[in-house]
């Protein structure tokens, strides 16, 4: 890059800047960027204009007003109360609640299952290792959609409500779903009871989470005593509240089972399919993470006299976590996105409700744009939460942060 030579600047005047020319790398970079932005803008503007023209010409209404109108269609019951006279916005909220429900449960189950299978893969017990390997290979090499359809087909092979399977008292399994005994509350006000229960649960959990801050043996025994106290408190609270709960068993009414908890076959198939599929990937990630921890660590732990289980828990896993968490984050995100396959088996998640809405209103652009925003939002939240956890793990335990 050559610059034209400059005469010595006259005193009191700023130096002359080189003229704009295509030889100048900066000018070229500015031009490249301007062209790229211009092309992107042109594409967006052209598509936007064409779309608006097409919508107008076909007489399709635009705008988000439809969200306030009554939806008119019924949806299977879910976490959010909804009836056909509620608005499309309400239906979308129900879809979102359903998506969150299956995603969060799926993440929990997939993680637990994935870690177990990943560890089993490395077990010295040949049967465990082989079964895990077969499981992982089988699940990873078939499409998720096929697995979902398989589980759904299995659920539809069950008998009808009158001939429902009754493996345990109060538990019924039939083509309409799984029906379990549920808890019904009729004691003190639910908020009070829930609050007490929350406190009784949160205190021991918080102590357990922060227990890695206890550095010395004295601290650790104090933590144990606190935990024990917390557990006792929890038991007391449970007994107090337990008097307010009663177990309601499902019973067969004219058509369906009434009462208790019901799990629809669509939800069950989606949850099982998503969890087993993601668990296989998490198992491989966990295995890779554990293998990545140097053999020296394992040998040192053995030399210290730690059993395999304790070595795993205290030495290997904390270090493996650093390697495991970023790819696991992306698996969680994949699970959340894969929950959209619910549209293929009739579970009312965000995608299904969007599909139903755009079929009834014809406003495809707005409906799909909303769905995209919802998924992007979920993406951001999960990434953010996992990044926080990752930062904490990457930083190391409390004692290593002093220096």
């Amino acid at each position: 890059m050559s610059e034209p030579s400059q005469a010595a600047p006259r005193p009191g005047r700023p130096p002359r800047r080189p003229p704009i020319s295509l030889r100048d790398a900066r000018t070229r970079s500015v031009l490249w960027q301007a062209v790229a932005v211009a092309i992107a803008c042109a594409i967006i503007v052209l598509v936007g204009i064409q779309t608006a023209a097409n919508l107008k010409q076909r007489g399709i209404t635009s705008g988000f007003d439809y969200l306030g109108r009554a939806a008119g269609f019924e949806l299977p019951p879910g976490p959010v109360p909804y009836a056909s006279r509620d608005s499309y916005a309400r239906a979308l909220v129900l879809g979102l609640a359903n998506t969150l429900r299956v995603s969060l449960l799926g993440i929990l189950i997939a993680t637990a299952l994935g870690v177990a299978i990943g560890v089993a893969r490395l077990s010295t017990i040949w049967v465990f290792a082989t079964i895990s390997r077969l499981y992982v290979e089988l699940v990873r090499n078939t499409p998720l959609m096929l697995q979902l359809l398989f589980w759904y087909a299995l659920s539809q092979a069950l008998p009808g409500p009158k001939e429902a399977l009754n493996p345990l008292p109060g538990v019924y399994l039939c083509i309409r779903g799984l029906f379990l005994p549920g808890l019904v509350w009729h004691g003190i006000h639910p908020w009070v009871g829930g609050g007490m229960l929350g406190v009784g649960v949160l205190v021991p959990v918080a102590l357990a989470i922060t227990s890695d801050r206890w550095e010395t043996a004295a601290d650790e025994s104090r933590a144990r005593r606190l935990l024990a106290g917390g557990a006792v408190a929890l038991v007391c609270v449970a007994v107090v509240l337990g008097s307010g709960f009663s177990v309601e068993r499902p019973s067969l009414a004219v058509f369906n089972f009434r009462g208790g908890l019901s799990v629809s076959p669509e939800f069950a198939a989606l949850l099982i399919g998503l969890s087993t599929y993601t668990a296989a990937f998490i198992a491989e990630i966990v295995r890779g993470g554990i293998v990545a921890v140097g053999r020296g660590q394992k040998e040192a732990a053995a030399a210290l006299g730690l059993s395999r289980g304790r070595a795993l828990r205290l030495v290997v896993l904390p270090q493996a976590l650093r390697v495991i968490i970023p790819p696991t984050t992306s698996q969680f995100l994949n699970l959340a996105k894969n929950s959209s396959l619910a549209v293929a088996i009739g579970y009312s998640d965000v995608m299904s409700v969007t599909d139903a809405t755009l079929n009834q209103t014809g406003q495809a652009v707005e409906a799909i744009a909303l769905a995209i925003c919802v998924y992007l939002g979920m993406n951001l939240i999960i990434s953010f939460a996992m990044n926080l956890y990752n930062a904490r793990v990457a930083a190391g335990p409390a004692w290593s942060q002093h220096a």
Binding site: V30, A42, I49, G59, F255, R258, A356, Q360
Partner: protein, 356 residues
Amino acid sequence: MDVRHCLLSSAVLVLSVYPTAAIPGQPARVPAVETRSHRGGETPTLDGVRRKGFVQCGVTTGVAGFSAPDAQGQWHGLDVDVCRAIAAAVLGDASKVRFTPLTAAQRFTALQSGEIDVLSRITTITFQRDVQLGIEFPAINWYDGTGFIVRKARHLKSVRDLDGATICLQPGTSNELDVADYFRKNNLRFTPVVIERLEEATNAYFAGRCDAFTQDQSTLAAVRARAPNPDDHVLLPEVISKAPFGPGVMPDDLRWMEIVRWSVYAMIDAEELGLSSRTIDQALASSGDPSVQQFVGTSGSFGQMLGLDSRWAFNIVKQVGNYAESFDRNVRPLGIERGINRLWKNGGIMYVPDVR
């Protein structure tokens, strides 16, 4: 980056974005909705049909009596005959039709996107579809209503007995909305099971996933005929809504809309005039009735007014038949009576303008 570079990049941006924004985004034709008397608007669908040499007809994925393929892949049904009538009128040959099977959820977007020329698919005409989706329904070719099919063994006498039941339904149908409204109005509750494809929904009903399946009465009759044991199932007596069916077209081609309308009317008019595929040749040759002459095209210039051959109605009746023939061929074998679909002078409500 200094001021001169800023100016340079802004200049590039403005020079390139401004022209694209100024392009008046091509709707490719002006909607001809200003006056009804002129016939100078463009006719994209009609031109497309003439250029392709066939009519692309959107139908169901297989509902006996209305649109279903046989073992050789030939389509038959009341709605199929509407499409064949349009082809006979426009192209002179009722076999120049291609069929696109569509689910209830796919049908409107297929029409709106131009994938099909006409939607003849047991589509209920509703305010929302006419106004919000912007689809035009030029004529009604079947009057029906939403009903329920249940197992006979349940001994249900009316829809009110379905309180608390599980009901299979399809998304994107008017039945879905009718059921929700009816149950809400009568303080009944039900659990919906939403399945998109008709065959899967009926299989779910037969397997016992739901206690009842809701669809239009005529579709339910076809479903019952397909059952492993048709006698195990019965249609509930109540028809909880009105469901007029008719072919649907996009509003940007008025001429095409009129052709579709008058193709349907022609078949009904032919029955009223007593013309059938067997008798129309003779009527063409020797009828003295002025109405018949105007219909078959020996007098008047109705075909030319539509931009079609003067034998347009003759071709329809000769190649496809009149409404009664179409019904007898397709729907009667399912055990469905004509009911209110009879001609007005026979006690029904089929009352259409004459070709005059």
